[in-house]
């Protein structure tokens, strides 16, 4: 047991990976709760893809990846608002097109570089095992800003989620609240870049909160349990992928392992909820 759960962390790179994964798991679970409440999973998924060209351009030109991601994320959120002012354009069609177009621009940029394949995969899937101290500081700082945003606007965001008309009538601007939440989501995506890459961040934003929602009633508990689920999956994913490669010689991508742990957890919880509810329906 000790060998499996504790010993991997005698290595410095595993300690750093653990810190980054736990931070992202917690922040993803918390911000993700608002994503699930507002039912904007697709928007979150869109942002995870639209930050990619920013990262790719920053990577090619040697600028900060964080900055590139942030600029692209904010730009795509603004373009989305602009496109959907046209009433012939549905939200989900606009998102799908923004997502694919931005992502394609990123692929085009990276495809001009020589070592194309390898770079693309690092940006897409992350490399949690190679994070350094500076990465940890950036992840924690960006995650903290995201938490401050949702923390400061908690009441307003919840009001907007459950009663959009009421919130607007009470004088809260839906546009500003949406922008605030979008910004928080963008920050989580940026923070998680190094650990799980752009493609799998969506799992950290949706799955912990969705799992938590199945078993909790109050909002506070939902957020707390969501954070706990995110952290537990981050930890388990890390030790499983370590043990698989060190003890069994099977290489498992760390980010993907974390996500699969999350999905298995969600499936088990969903199945249990469903089985427990069935007798009630029959009666």
């Amino acid at each position: 047991m000790r060998h499996f759960f504790v010993e991997p962390f005698q290595y410095g790179f595993m300690q750093r990976a653990l810190v980054v994964s736990l931070v992202i798991g917690a922040v993803g679970g918390i911000v993700g709760s608002y994503v699930v409440l507002r039912r904007i999973s697709f928007f979150a998924d869109t942002l995870t893809h639209t930050v990619f060209p920013g990262v790719a351009i920053a990577f090619v030109t040697g600028h900060s990846l964080w900055l590139g991601a942030l600029v692209a994320g904010v730009a795509s959120a603004l373009l989305f608002s602009l496109a959907t002012t046209n009433r012939r354009v549905d939200d989900d069609a606009a998102m799908a097109i923004l997502l694919t177009t931005f992502f394609a621009v990123g692929v085009m940029v990276v495809s001009r570089v020589e070592s194309y394949t390898n770079d693309l995969l690092v940006l897409l899937f992350g490399r949690v095992l190679t994070v350094d101290r500076a990465d940890i500081v950036s992840t924690v700082a960006i995650g903290a800003v995201a938490l401050c945003i949702v923390g400061a606007l908690h009441k307003e965001l919840v009001f907007r989620a459950f009663d959009p008309e009421g919130a607007e009538a009470a004088g809260y601007s839906p546009l500003l609240l949406d922008i605030a939440l979008n910004l928080a989501v963008t920050l989580v995506v940026v923070a998680a870049l190094q650990a799980v890459g752009t493609v799998l961040v969506i799992a950290l934003l949706v799955t912990p909160a969705a799992t938590s929602r199945l078993v909790t009633r109050g909002l506070g508990t939902m957020i707390a349990v969501g954070a706990a689920v995110g952290m537990a999956a981050a930890y388990l994913g890390l030790v499983i992928s370590f043990s698989a490669s060190v003890d069994h010689g099977v290489r498992l991508a760390t980010g993907a392992t974390i996500v699969v742990v999350l999905t298995v957890g969600f499936t088990l919880v969903a199945a249990a909820t469903w089985l427990r509810r069935r007798p009630a329906v029959a009666a």
Partner: protein, 285 residues
């Protein structure tokens, strides 16, 4: 280096790529009309990602990759269909979980098998330049079958998209139509994924149809226009990618997205500029 359309016509490889891109683009436009109408873009996104484990498994077992992705795709289709009818979680959240979980499973299997390499990249962003004549023929056959099926069930499909309750009352098997649409989308993805990749095939299945909606109002007309737009995006994308030396699938997606962006702003009746003009006129009058 290939610089002109004449050069493309003289190269078998590029000619095949061009035909493949045009057929896939046209197919994406036609089925895209129903995707946009039924608000299924996120479902399509989930379908492309969650089908990934099927491709990896087929690779490990030495089976045909397209067959593997199709078989696994049916599983995902049924899963999405079942989930969309349950009430514990809203559909978009459940779709997000399926998307991420399915894709991660594929990445996991892939990393366990051989480490990351070129095959994964070509699956992600497509490799239209490597299609064989047999691939092109298979694409054309599947595309005709999908379009034929859409024409057959087009009436009830459109009815149920606009007025679900009315269609149900009129005896249209709405729930099974949902399933049929998902299966047709899956078939379209089976041929488009090798061309432009999993992420960018979503572009061909959504952008031409959403663009067409900005220019024409009738469903039938928008299907023709979307097919034309999709085929054009495919052809123009291939030509530009050859001239500029960029990834073909990505270039096609950028062309399709660019066409949409221009139409959102400049379409004569539904564009943002036109609307501003109308607003200004009614304000003045």
């Amino acid at each position: 280096m290939i610089r002109s359309i004449g050069d493309i016509a003289r190269s078998d490889l590029l000619l095949r790529a061009l035909v493949e891109a045009v057929v896939v683009g046209a197919l994406g436009g036609v089925i895209g009309v129903h995707i946009v109408l039924r608000r299924l873009p996120f479902t399509v996104m989930a379908l492309t990602h969650a089908t990934f484990p099927g491709v990896v498994l087929a690779g490990i077992l030495g089976l045909n990759l397209i067959a593997g992705s199709a078989a696994f795709g049916v599983v995902v289709v049924v899963l999405l269909w079942v989930v969309s009818r349950r009430r514990e979680l809203d559909t978009s959240t459940a779709t997000g979980v399926i998307l991420a979980g399915g894709f991660a499973t594929g990445v996991l299997l892939f990393s366990a098998q051989s480490g990351f390499d070129r095959d994964l990249t070509s699956y992600l962003v497509g490799s239209v330049l490597t299609v064989s004549t047999a691939d092109v023929v298979a694409t054309a056959v599947i595309a005709s079958a999908v379009v034929g099926a859409l024409v057959l069930i087009g009436g009830p499909l459109t009815f149920s998209a606009f007025d679900r309750i009315g269609a149900e009352a009129a005896g249209v098997p709405v729930v099974y139509l949902d399933l049929a649409v998902l299966l047709l989308i899956e078939l379209a993805l089976v041929v488009s994924v090798p061309t432009v990749g999993i992420i960018l095939s979503v572009s061909l299945l959504v952008a031409p149809a959403a663009t067409a909606r900005l220019w024409v109002d009738r469903i039938g007309a928008s299907m023709w226009l979307a097919a034309l737009l999709g085929a054009t995006a495919g052809a123009v994308g291939i030509v530009i990618s050859q001239a500029a030396g960029t990834a073909a699938g990505a270039t096609i997606a950028v062309v399709a997205g660019g066409g949409f962006a221009l139409s959102v702003i400049g379409s004569p009746r539904h564009g943002l500029l036109a609307r501003r003009r109308v607003a200004a006129r009614s304000f003045a009058g």
